[in-house]
């Protein structure tokens, strides 16, 4: 800061605190709603201090013992599906991108450039622009309602491949020469030199891709027709009754919303450094 200006300092903190409060308010209300009984939540206006039904609501949500309309699938099951899906997508993306970037940078073979561009172009083909035919492919392969169907079509990654390629290009050539002189083959070099060197990028990518995977909505909406394969992000939507507010158990829905937010939020907060790096890197 350049000048000392008491008024400006106070204003600065006021604006920031106000920003933090406005950003946090929706989640605070969500939390409060998840601690009340259904009757209290639908009272107008709803109480703004936590109630006493916290444990009960979360237990009912996790066990899927709700009475109202909409899906009755257990949220614990949904969380498992989400976790498996998010991990499979994040790790799958990292694995296949590492391998293809390695191939493109460290080998010379026909159509090398073409392969790289083919991967890169997928950036322009998000699920949203090809939903019908992609659904048909997955259904023809018998992958509806399966973990493979949830994860595999999403693990191609132009950004991750590009990021690893950029990174590999900065790795000094001397390392390859030294490895070759010591008699190390390409896979040995990949495993013992490149993988450890890429650890930072990998951690950053993992955070971003885990959140990406956990938050998928459109794709699971298309290919899961059975409740047992609903990820939590999709399941929560199915718990809301189309019959109006009176029939929706908002306290349980809000408990589910909290549960759906916690894992990715924890990943962001605990791995904040990697998260920031991952965001900035993957957009370059």
């Amino acid at each position: 800061m350049i000048e000392r200006n008491r008024f400006l300092s106070i204003l600065t903190h006021l604006v920031l605190i106000l920003g933090v409060l406005v950003v946090a308010f929706p989640v605070y209300v969500t939390f409060v709603a998840s601690t009340h009984s259904m009757e209290d939540v639908v009272t107008v206006p709803m109480p703004l201090t936590p109630g006493s039904h916290l444990i009960e609501n979360y237990r009912v949500a996790l066990a899927g013992e709700r009475a109202g309309t909409g899906t009755h699938a257990a949220v614990s099951r949904m969380m498992t599906v989400s976790l498996v899906m998010a991990l499979a997508i994040a790790l799958g993306k990292i694995a296949i991108s590492l391998l293809s970037a390695f191939a493109v940078v460290y080998f010379r073979f026909p159509f090398r450039k073409a392969c790289f561009w083919a991967i890169f172009i997928t950036l322009m083909l998000p699920v949203e622009v090809r939903i019908g035919p992609t659904y048909k492919v997955v259904s023809d392969l018998g992958m509806l309602n399966s973990y493979a169907g949830l994860a595999v079509p999403l693990i191609a990654s132009a950004t991750a491949t590009f990021l690893y390629r950029q990174f590999f290009l900065t790795v000094p050539e001397e390392l390859v020469e030294a490895a070759r002189m010591d008699g190390a083959g390409p896979m040995r070099f990949f495993k013992d030199v490149l993988l450890p060197l890429s650890a930072t990028s990998t951690a950053a990518l993992f955070v971003i891709q885990f959140i990406y995977g956990w938050n998928q909505y459109l794709w699971p909406l298309l290919i899961t027709t059975e409740e047992r394969m609903y990820p939590v992000v999709l399941g929560i939507k199915q718990m809301i009754s189309s019959g109006g507010d009176a029939q929706t158990e908002w306290n349980i829905v809000m408990a589910t919303a909290m549960l759906a937010m916690i894992p990715p939020a924890l990943v962001v907060l605990l791995m904040q450094k990697w998260f920031v790096k991952g965001l900035v890197d993957s957009e370059k």
Binding site: V15, P26, S100, F107, L125, R130, A156, E283
Partner: protein, 293 residues
């Protein structure tokens, strides 16, 4: 840039590339080609007869008023999301840049909505603004404002804009903070010595120097509003009231999976594809090259 040293093998690189190439061929290029084909065909509802119709699907599409309306809805929606998302986060970032101690503290408290799934954001905001039980709707009613997103399409639009901006704020904020930190302190100090106050310095130095970041975020926010907000719309308004918040992606989904109009949906996919390609090209051509200081 190329490596001067490489490994020799004729088969290994193909084995390494195989998984990625398989995935993109089966789940990206094949379906995209199918969408292109189908957009030129007309199928009956049972898939028994297929007819080539040339560009008829596209003609119908651009004659269809609901499609043009959806285009307009998407344009309004993304303009609002980009404007408020960028404006608010820039304001917060400019203030955060002034804080000597506690930047990380504020950053931590402002970045976590990035982790919230769009669908969950949609559900949460739906609850806050539900006309019968929502707490914010109650306050609006108390203030004499007849809030009803179920009947009034402007209110429904405001609802999804708020949810979408809330979710995207943290992303924009992070990039603005990084952008502001990369502006040399000496420039700002020099201006201060010349007597420019904080307000003037922001508009004449920091804001112009941030233009690459702002432009980049503009593109990213438009892409976000076009493609990543499907879940918010589906959870909060289901495209309603009527079709007044049915953005393009929502309409592709609805026409293809609910109304089962394959040819029309495929033609819409192709239009969307063209939009993504245009936006991606803009992003790579102009970002960090043209908008510069």
């Amino acid at each position: 840039m190329e490596k001067r040293v490489w490994f020799k093998s004729s088969w290994l690189p193909w084995v390494l590339l195989a998984p990625q190439l398989a995935v993109i061929t089966i789940f990206f290029f094949w379906p995209a080609a199918q969408a292109l084909l189908q957009s030129l065909q007309q199928q009956d509802a049972f898939g028994t007869s297929v007819q080539w119709v040339g560009l008829e699907n596209f003609e119908n599409l651009f004659k269809d008023e609901s499609y043009l309306a959806s285009f307009q809805t998407t344009a309004v929606f993304s303009a609002l999301v980009a404007f408020f998302g960028i404006g608010l986060s820039l304001m917060l970032a400019a203030f955060a840049d002034r804080v000597l101690k506690g930047v990380v503290f504020y950053r931590t408290l402002l970045i976590w909505p990035y982790a919230v799934a769009p669908a969950v954001a949609g559900v949460v905001w739906l609850f806050l603004f539900s006309p019968s039980i929502g707490i914010l709707a109650y306050w609006l009613h108390e203030a004499g404002f007849a809030w009803d997103p179920l009947l009034n399409s402007n209110h429904a639009m405001a609802l999804i804009v708020m949810a979408a901006v809330w979710k995207q704020l943290s992303y924009n904020f992070l990039f603005f903070v990084a952008g502001l930190q990369s502006i040399p302190r000496s420039l700002i100090e020099a201006a201060a010595i010349d007597g420019a106050g904080p307000w003037r310095r922001f508009w004449t130095i920091q804001f112009p120097l941030l233009s690459p970041t702002t432009f980049f975020l503009l593109v990213i926010n438009i892409v976000y509003a076009f493609f990543d907000t499907f879940a918010i719309v589906d959870a909060a308004t289901k495209g309603g009231p009527g079709k007044d918040t049915a953005i393009l992606v929502y309409k592709v989904y609805f026409d293809g999976f609910k109304a089962m109009d394959l040819g029309g949906s495929a033609a819409q996919s192709v239009v969307l594809m063209a939009i993504v390609i245009a936006l991606t090209v803009v992003q790579f051509r102009f970002v960090e090259k043209k908008v510069n200081y």
